[in-house]
């Protein structure tokens, strides 16, 4: 094969960035560093207020990592994501109150209910794309909240109170704020890892193929509707279990917790952090959940300040803090040698 038609020499620099900082950021150990940070945080400040804020932030990370599957990986704009959290929180709350069960035993029921919710929201929207999908999911989110607001079993506008803790035996009570914080961090860490791993698998690639070009994915034998439904189901499970943690944390569930603003905030965390990149999404979620708390000394103006900050970030970094990069390692040296041999022979 003649070499003079080689079109591989693109003029731009197209390799992956190779600075020391970016290598550090891409390293596998970063997850452990982040977990260590979360574990050590209570040693810096462990006031009830701080633990409350940190637990809320951890739950928020869980939600963002779930929405990242739907929006980031699969490209399905979901404006009603908080509905899944509502389904999880209400299911857990109602069952544990009715049977006086610790929340942890409600998880199988929560999984069933959230998967069902994922199917119910996913199935009719499979043919919709972008704007239309956004409107329908927005509607589903509001329907869920309004339903909860009007049913007797969900306690109406005042919701459900006095939900038992996650688990209690002997002197060990998971409702201790510090214990609950660590349990939450552990659960969230596991699910963030699971979400990241899903993203780098056959299914995760299929989600991206669907996001990038549905027809081409279909032509390669990918059942786009199955793949999209799976994205909804996984997103729903993450959201539902986030709801269980939420119910455990507040020991109360009410419709006001599931307003559209919450869906918008989770979506904002995903977009701000960098769609499709789990690490970026975790950072985005932390910024969105901790930001208003850190700006507390701005008093009444803190949401104004926070809003301005978000606008500035989006203007200067529209792709998010840390977007998914389409780079991966080149072939290992052995393979490269083989290729060189082939080229020399050719």
């Amino acid at each position: 094969m003649s070499e003079n038609v080689d079109t591989t020499q693109a003029p731009r620099k197209i390799g992956p960035p190779r600075s020391r900082i970016s290598r550090l950021l891409e390293s596998r150990q970063l997850g452990w560093v982040a977990l260590a940070g979360a574990v050590l945080a209570p040693f810096v400040t462990a006031t009830p207020y701080a633990l409350n804020v940190m637990t809320t932030a951890a739950i928020f990370v869980m939600l963002a990592s779930g929405l990242n599957i739907v929006v980031g990986y699969c490209g399905l704009l979901d404006l009603g994501y908080i509905a899944f959290m509502a389904v999880g929180a209400y299911t857990a709350g109602i069952i544990s109150r009715s049977f006086d069960l610790p929340l942890i035993f409600t998880i199988p029921a929560v999984l069933v209910m959230t998967v069902l919710a994922g199917l119910i929201i996913g199935a009719p929207t499979l043919r919709l794309r972008s704007d239309y999908l956004a409107i329908v999911t927005l509607g589903f989110g509001e329907i869920t909240r309004i339903t909860a607001n009007n049913l007797a079993i969900t306690g109406g506008p005042s919701g459900i109170f006095g939900i038992p803790g996650l688990l209690k035996f002997g002197n060990f009570d998971m409702q201790e704020p510090a214990v609950l914080y660590y349990v939450t961090v552990l659960v969230v860490a596991v699910f963030v890892l699971a979400s990241a791993r899903l993203g780098k698998s056959r299914l995760g690639r299929a989600w991206r193929f669907v996001r990038e070009d549905e027809d081409a994915a279909e032509a390669m034998g990918i059942h786009t509707y199955k793949v999209k439904l799976l994205a909804y189901i996984f997103g729903a499970i993450w959201g539902g279990l986030g709801g269980v943690l939420f119910a455990a944390h507040l020991s109360a569930v009410s419709p006001q917790s599931f307003i559209f603003l919450q869906s918008a905030l989770v979506l904002m965390a995903v977009v701000l952090g960098g769609m499709g990149n789990m690490r970026g999404v975790v950072i985005g979620a932390l910024v969105i959940s901790l930001g208003p708390e850190l700006l507390r000394n701005l008093a009444a103006n803190r949401y104004l300040g926070f809003g301005l900050l978000l606008v500035v970030v989006m203007v200067f970094r529209p792709q998010g803090f840390w977007p998914a990069r389409g780079y991966e390692p080149e072939r290992r040296t052995v393979g490269a040698d083989d290729a060189a041999v082939v080229r020399a022979e050719g």
């Binding site: 094969m1 003649s2 003079n4 038609v5 080689d6 079109t7 591989t8 020499q9 693109a10 731009r12 197209i14 390799g15 992956p16 699971a194 791993r197 899903l198 780098k200 698998s201 056959r202 299914l203 995760g204 690639r205 299929a206 991206r208 193929f209 990038e212 070009d213 027809d215 081409a216 994915a217 279909e218 032509a219 390669m220 034998g221 990918i222 059942h223 786009t224 799976l230 996984f234 998914a324 389409g326 780079y327 991966e328 390692p329 080149e330 072939r331 393979g335 290729a339 082939v342 080229r343």
Partner: protein, 263 residues
């Protein structure tokens, strides 16, 4: 010899326009068939019917003896059909390797639980994906970085990646929609050699192409379409001499007879 692809009296109409109007042909193992015809003759519509992107109004498509008429594209792909698109349809933000991995979706050997728990099966499967992707990229003669987003590549390179992706599907039938469009002379020569190597794998190739030099040199059989109908079929030499073909391409006038003689 059993046919890999059998199209019988295929018709598709959009409103009143009959894009494909009674097309029949078949393709066999190790055969290269070209579908040619003026723009709007219904070539791509026929491809879209075969691959399930359009539902034919009537007629049937058999692949490996299985009736796939009106099935979903993904199901038809699973039966053993792979295709490229007229305008590149790659996944622009994904890496070259990921694009090729798309073709291997159907024989991955891992599920979501394997992915979450990183089972040995998952690791084997991922290693297989990467190795196979490199192998197909080598096969199509793709040189250059493979870990970068495909949007950073030149057009010619992207075309190769698309063919590699289609090959990675390991289908018995490969449909190429204008593979030579936008390629320069030497790239076309490479494409020619590549198509022959693909045929030698045992694959049947059906291609739509406007480059007559390439078509005449490459294909064993040519199907000429115009206004949705097959107006001629035969070896390159037969088609070249067919007056109906010359009329379709050059129009009918006194000169027609003369150019017929020249060909």
């Amino acid at each position: 010899m059993t046919a890999i692809l059998e199209v019988k009296d295929l018709q598709i109409a959009f409103g009143g326009v009959r894009a494909v109007d009674g097309l029949s042909f078949s393709a066999h193992e190790r055969e290269i068939i070209a579908v040619i015809g003026p723009n709007g003759a219904g070539k791509t519509s026929a491809f879209n019917c075969i691959t399930g992107f359009y539902r034919p109004t009537s007629g049937s498509v058999l692949i490996n003896g299985l009736d796939t008429t009106g099935k979903r594209p993904a199901d038809i792909a699973a039966v053993g059909v792979s295709r490229t698109f007229q305008n590149l349809r790659l996944f622009p933000d994904l890496t070259v390797l990921d694009n090729v991995r798309a073709g291997m979706h159907l024989y991955g050997g891992q599920n979501w639980a394997d992915a979450i728990f990183h089972t040995p099966r998952f690791k084997r499967s991922e290693a297989m994906y990467t190795e196979e992707a490199h192998r197909w990229l080598d096969f199509v003669g793709f040189e250059g970085a493979r870990g970068i987003p495909v949007r950073n590549l030149s057009y010619g390179q992207q075309k190769r990646v698309e063919i590699a992706r289609a090959l990675a599907r390991k289908a018995e039938l490969l449909l190429l929609d204008e593979p030579a469009a936008g390629l320069n002379y030497s790239e076309k020569q490479q494409l020619l050699a590549l198509c022959r190597r693909i045929r030698d794998l045992g694959t049947a190739i059906v291609l739509i192409e406007h480059d007559m030099g390439l078509v005449m040199e490459l294909s064993e059989r040519i199907i000429v379409m115009n206004f949705g109908r097959e107006i001629a079929v035969g070896t390159p030499a037969e088609v070249k001499a067919n007056p109906a073909v010359i009329e379709a391409y050059l129009g009918k006038d006194d000169e027609g007879a003369q150019s017929n003689g020249d060909a």
